[in-house]
């Protein structure tokens, strides 16, 4: 009843929705972020928690201790710089493969008979019913030296000796693309599905062969879906922890395992926090870029 009356008030409804979203954002993002930011500006110490308090009150004065040492150390330590770059590179390559594989997939589903589309989408989401961890472990069985893939290739006579795939960057890429592909396909499908197919008929009528018409009409019109999907892949892929840990072995391409080790192995919370803050800022960049491009496009249209 109370919800009913709440939603019947049109003027309040908007602010309620905004307040819910804002509240979620403050509680689950802003507060944790500022906690981490605070730690990143503190000094390492041997106490529990393992960092010196930022605010000290000796009964007379309040002292605030801030240090940017952690951030400067971050830049001077090659493992952080390299794994940052490695994360960006891995995420970029994952995104590119997701686009190359996901575009035809999304297109095929959108072009299928309307009655067949729900089952095709279901097929794509069925893997999500199994635990993420188990699915990644399953890839070990496929990719290892005497795994399914190598045995199949040897049986087919394609190769004589097993390929070294497991614990290389290749196994990381395979796992990443496998996991993130649906996140690219679904938003793109949503855009393609709404596309007016008579536009392609019009292009054909105006003398354009199907393949050229696809590049001139379908591709530009689906770019918002590609951008949304690429973002949904790129941002979480940059911070991916499990896949490089499980499929990468000693190969360390990415920042998230490094963060884990700093927090829980080296117990250097301040530097790990600094690295986390830097990662968030790094991820805001592509977001800001996409957002700017989108508002520019919206402005050009208005």
């Amino acid at each position: 009843m109370r919800w009913g009356t709440l939603f019947r008030l049109p003027r309040d409804r908007r602010s309620v929705v905004i307040a819910l979203v804002l509240g979620w954002y403050v509680i689950f993002f802003m507060i944790p972020f500022f906690l981490v930011l605070k730690i990143s500006l503190s000094r390492l110490s041997d106490m529990i928690p393992p960092y010196a308090p930022m605010f000290t009150f000796d009964g007379m004065r309040l002292a605030i201790t801030l240090t940017f040492e952690n951030f400067s150390q971050l830049l001077s330590d090659p493992i952080f710089v390299l794994s940052y770059l490695g994360s960006l590179q891995t995420a970029a390559i994952t995104t590119i493969f997701c686009i190359l594989l996901g575009y035809p997939l999304a297109y095929a589903v959108a072009a299928a008979r309307p009655s067949a589309r729900p089952s095709l989408l279901l097929l794509m989401t069925i893997p999500f019913w199994t635990s993420f961890l188990i699915r990644i472990y399953a890839w070990i069985g496929i990719l290892k030296d005497n795994g399914l893939l190598n045995n199949l290739l040897i049986w087919l006579g394609v190769i004589a000796h097993p390929l070294r795939i497991m614990n290389t960057s290749t196994s990381i890429y395979i796992g990443m693309v496998y996991c993130y592909l649906p996140f690219f396909v679904l938003p793109l499908y949503a855009v393609l599905e709404k596309m007016d197919w008579s536009l392609l008929e019009a292009a054909s009528d105006l003398g354009w062969r199907p393949f050229r018409a696809f590049w001139a009409i379908t591709v530009p019109l689906s770019l918002p879906g590609v951008a949304a999907g690429a973002l949904l892949v790129f941002v979480p892929a940059t911070g991916e922890y499990l896949i490089p840990r499980i499929l990468g072995g000693a190969v360390n391409l990415m920042i998230a395992p490094v963060l884990w080790d700093s927090f829980f192995v080296a117990r250097d919370w301040p530097i790990a926090s600094a690295a986390t803050v830097a990662l968030v800022l790094l991820l805001l960049l592509p977001l800001a870029f996409v957002e700017r491009a989108r508002s520019a496009a919206a402005e050009a249209r208005a």
Binding site: E201, A203, S204, D205, L206, G207, A216, L221, R301
Partner: protein, 369 residues
């Protein structure tokens, strides 16, 4: 345009025995049709009659099962849409939302291997034709419905097709705009001299715009003719009923002499005469009489003359330029009568009034089943 048109001898459109089946349903049945150069030809019919399938087979979007299509004397039956010398204006207009007005119009020319200045010149020409030169940089979603319709037209004619196909070109416009756009479309067609084949379900549209009309029903062409032929000499009951309103009197041919058939009409309890159209004595036929051919008048005290039927007004409505009556005749038939308001001095026959309905026997048209 001239070079391309002159290079081909033969009618812009020639269709022979075209048939299209979807499962067991016939969308088109054995269609034969010739459209002459410079015509504005309409395919008229209600939804599902096959008119859109026919238009789409001309464009190449529908592959017929049997028969052939010749455009300018060349067989294009097996050609893809992008290989045919025809262009289509889509019902939804199908303007490319990511291209400007200019970009939309130039789109088809970009594939024709034309030099840039030539493309620019032809786009300018087309923009002038639709009087939208100042809106060339607008995006489609910034245009009104009427402006979109004109851009769709320009985009299709700028390629100088041998035939322009128009799928319900006015249906997306509101009524007022639709009527003014009809005349504009006819004027543009005369100016550019391209043959138009247009699909419509709107009989007024077909009558006012076309040089000839093909009335379609259940995948067949029922009648082809000029608007006056279709209206005044409908071949059968379907055409008579579909175009405008009509009074149909069922009857049996009693005799035929000197090209005049005498029909015994049970509902009128009278014998009426009409020009024979190849019927035989004993055939079941109907006499079609248009409401505006009938005259309504006060009852004569003297005995009614022949061709004059007494009745009671059962319904009256005023449509501005005319009064519309429904009159229950003594024999049981109910007829519609239209009377021009001019000359009635604002007087009308109210409901329940006894009247007489008469018409010139020359207005009788004999139609088959």
């Amino acid at each position: 345009m001239a070079a391309r048109a002159d290079a081909n001898i033969g009618s812009p459109v020639e269709i022979r025995g075209l048939t299209k089946r979807y499962g067991t349903h016939y969308a088109l049945r054995d269609i034969d049709l010739i459209v002459e150069r410079g015509e504005l030809f309409s395919l008229l019919g209600s939804s599902g009659c096959g008119k859109t399938t026919l238009l789409r087979s001309l464009a190449g979007f529908v592959r017929p099962d049997e028969g052939s299509i010749l455009i300018g004397g060349r067989d294009v039956t097996r050609l893809a849409p992008y290989e045919r010398p025809v262009n289509m204006m889509f019902q939804s207009y199908a303007l490319f939302p990511h291209l400007t007005v200019e970009g939309n119009i130039a789109f088809g020319l970009r594939r024709d291997r034309l030099a840039r200045p030539e493309i620019a010149r032809r786009v300018d020409e087309a923009l002038e034709l639709i009087r939208m030169s100042d809106l060339r940089r607008r995006m489609p979603q910034q245009l009104s419905g009427g402006q979109r319709q004109r851009v769709a037209l320009a985009r299709a004619v700028v390629k100088r097709p041998q035939v322009l196909l128009l799928d319900e070109p006015l249906s997306a416009l509101d009524r007022k705009l639709r009527e003014s756009t009809r005349m504009e479309l006819v004027a543009i067609q005369e100016q550019i001299g391209i043959t138009f084949v247009l699909v419509t379900h709107d009989q007024d549209e077909a009558l006012t715009m076309s040089s000839r009309i093909a009335v379609m029903s259940e995948g067949r062409i029922v009648q082809i003719g000029t608007p006056t032929e279709i209206y005044d000499k409908p071949r059968n009951r379907f055409v008579a009923d579909f175009i405008g309103s009509v009074n149909l009197f069922e009857g049996v041919v009693a005799s035929i002499s000197a090209g005049i058939a005498t029909v015994e009409c049970a509902t009128l309890s009278a014998r009426l005469q009409a020009a024979d159209r190849g019927f035989a004595v004993g055939d079941k036929v109907a006499l079609a009489v248009r409401p505006e051919r009938m005259t309504i008048s006060p009852p004569e005290p003297a005995a009614p003359s022949s061709g004059c039927f007494a009745g009671i007004v059962s319904h009256h409505s005023f449509a501005g330029d005319r009064h519309l009556y429904r009159v229950a005749l003594e024999g049981g038939a109910v007829v519609q009568v239209a009377q021009l308001s001019a000359g009635t001095d604002g007087r009308a026959f109210p409901r329940g009034e006894a009247v007489e309905v008469s018409w010139d026997p020359a207005s009788n048209v004999l139609v088959g089943p």
